[in-house]
Symmetry: C2
Subunit: 484 residues, 2 copies
Amino acid sequence: MLTQEFTTNLDQTIDQKGIFKQLQKDLALLQQSAMDAKLPVVVLFEGWSSAGKGQMIEAVISRLEPRGYQVQSYTPPDSGEARHSDLWRFWRDIPKYGNMAVLDRSWHNDLLTGDSVGQKQIDAVNTFERQLRDDGYLVLKFFLHIGQKEQRNRLDTLSDKKLTAWRVNVNDWAQNRNYNQSLSAFNKMLEKTNTPWAPWHVIWNEDKYAGPIQVLQTIKAAMEGALTKGLPHGDWTPQTQFPTLEMPKLASITEFPVLDEATYRAELKKERKKIGELHSKLYRRQIPVIIGFEGWDAAGKGGAIRRLSWALDPRGFRVVPVAAPSKDELAHHYLWRFWLNQPKNGHVTIFDRTWYGRTMVELIEGFTDPVRCHMAYQEMNEFEADMVRWGAVVMKFWIHIDQETQLERFTLRQNTPEKQYKITDEDWRNREKWPQYEAAVDEMIAKTATPHAPWHIIEGNDKNYARLKVLKIVRKTLEDALED
Amino acid sequence: MLTQEFTTNLDQTIDQKGIFKQLQKDLALLQQSAMDAKLPVVVLFEGWSSAGKGQMIEAVISRLEPRGYQVQSYTPPDSGEARHSDLWRFWRDIPKYGNMAVLDRSWHNDLLTGDSVGQKQIDAVNTFERQLRDDGYLVLKFFLHIGQKEQRNRLDTLSDKKLTAWRVNVNDWAQNRNYNQSLSAFNKMLEKTNTPWAPWHVIWNEDKYAGPIQVLQTIKAAMEGALTKGLPHGDWTPQTQFPTLEMPKLASITEFPVLDEATYRAELKKERKKIGELHSKLYRRQIPVIIGFEGWDAAGKGGAIRRLSWALDPRGFRVVPVAAPSKDELAHHYLWRFWLNQPKNGHVTIFDRTWYGRTMVELIEGFTDPVRCHMAYQEMNEFEADMVRWGAVVMKFWIHIDQETQLERFTLRQNTPEKQYKITDEDWRNREKWPQYEAAVDEMIAKTATPHAPWHIIEGNDKNYARLKVLKIVRKTLEDALED
């Protein structure tokens, strides 16, 4: 709880400058260890205007190795950023493992706009930080606090000098005039976002060294702790539990309808036209759409995606093929690359394979700690819920075929020269693990088929039937979204 | 030369639809070959409003494998993009090797604004395309042409339907009313950007199949040619030849001044203060600054960069450490990653090693074809000139030490536990190639020390002297820039 009264408990007789300089050196050494240990660190500063964020950031970074940190300064989103959800630019800028991001303002600033901030936005912010923390990110949040009188003096001093006067604007003076009102808004924000995984550190920053020493000591202690004892994860309750839809097990799907060519062509044409019109309406209403495709190898994801894409204006959609993560992607939270590929509002992104690789190939091949893989169900529900909070329509398809059909298609690919590139040894290896994959898919669908981002299982033995069913579901989902 | 009269030379009696569909299939096969051969292709469409760019793009992509192409649609830059130079967003979006970018409008659209377009901007556009072509990019430019009457009919049809009326705006009607004026502007643009490396293809696009067939045939022929015969490069004259400054050979530098600690500290403080003030002014005037550091291993680049960074507001600069390119960076034109790291206007980017790796390590270690390496001198002068055209201040430092000093520093690093991470086997190997590197650096400095982006050689045996000299040159250069 912030108040105007504050005393620092720092002994004024000691060599503060010396302590400060030593802490900077300690931090530089810790940075090396963090780089070696691949510990990612987020240090963010919020606070009053003229509370000294700039100097504080300088104090933190000045001894650090430049290739190991990045300073990010956040002003209101530019018009490109504003076409994304509010947390998009912060996800975009998360540091890679072993690096430090030092933030001048952050997502918390968006929570200060008063009554328009709903519980969902607060939950989203806390969820974001929890997801980072659960992935091993150390998140350190500092609020730089000064009194009304001190702030007035600082604004006066800045305004007096030609070189700095431009830094002071009317909002700064308004904050100072309405100090108590701002104090209450800050307090509300701090209280709502003070979590066990990312607590706030309020720093009284009126003295030259007391504040910086406290900040540096806090960072040092936290980094030392993380480096020696590690960061535990997953031992807290998520912000939201999501209801799930009743879904069939894959084994229960034994009927695979077939569609004759003539009906297929006629219906396809009709659906394409309708979806084309809906796409145009979605664009006008600036509604973003996210469509994920998963399915067995050779299930026909590509063909279904192509039929769907023919219905869309090529300037308004993108197909994102998801393969094994690149080195850079591996050096970030696994959801990072999916955040980066979020559509702009009014656009459609089709994912050819998705973030659910985490709960299938990563789990079964042992690429990722199973504990982390199992945490993904909740994380994905949260990820998709945040897209929906922003206004997106989210839907997911599992294209299902039986084992005999897969064998036929593999054999056909093997024997057709222009299709051979589509079949690899890995496909055959995956096929041998059908039972493990089936169990993983059943669990995944059961735990992540939510009303806000449902799974649709498509019977895929007959390609015509499957493609048309996908188009019908897309059309219906978009119609419903436009009626809201 | 565009005119209103046009006839297509396509025989109306043949099966146009069949030809069209076959061409789409041919293109899909060629795409596979291009992916295998790592041939990057840029297909861009300019043209009249309602000339059918959207359908044409659909015709090009509909049979293609989604992971092999990207459609980019360009409207005026958003406010984030507008903080960069005009070509930045186009560089950002170049396809990687083996991929195709299909562009709905492009950099040529910026050349239609009439009298404000200077020769430098036209040269920059042609240079951009030449640089892509020289790197193996196939650049195919299409202008979709329709007559005044046809355009009016199309705009009418769109306006009549509720679903499409919003696509037509006042500019479209203005273009139709002032058809002849627009025709002349288009003609001027086409003429000025019609180059041997990226010629225009004007497509009369009033018929359903004639235009698409021509486009598909052109792409097919060009890709087949590139895949079978390859793309020759470098046999054309660059747009601009740059004057160079008289520079000393490294061997001639034998005097290494020394600065005592007291003078150094006093002067450093003075320079830091001045640079801090200049940084603030640059920010207010939104002038971007690019500072590149090169030098021998252990020359003291890091220390100099750190001293410089202490003078700058951490929210307004970024240090970009340049190491070996990542897989993704290797899959693009080598200048791509440096374009991506262009500062926003008003910001400073300090490169710790630079694009000049091309003319040193890549050349000497044989990572890159020497022919391409030698083309880099001109390409770098052009790259830097384009930053200056945008308004940036560009300067480059070579921190120079002699061989004995390097040996001393290597040995010290080897023997000091906390500095050991700074010395690797590669450093020792590079040291053995000192004569080759010296010759390469001499040539690089001689050919790329331009008045618009000068090299500064810093005598670096004494670190104090070197650091201060860097700061003095930065200060002086920024002062001069602010006086312009």
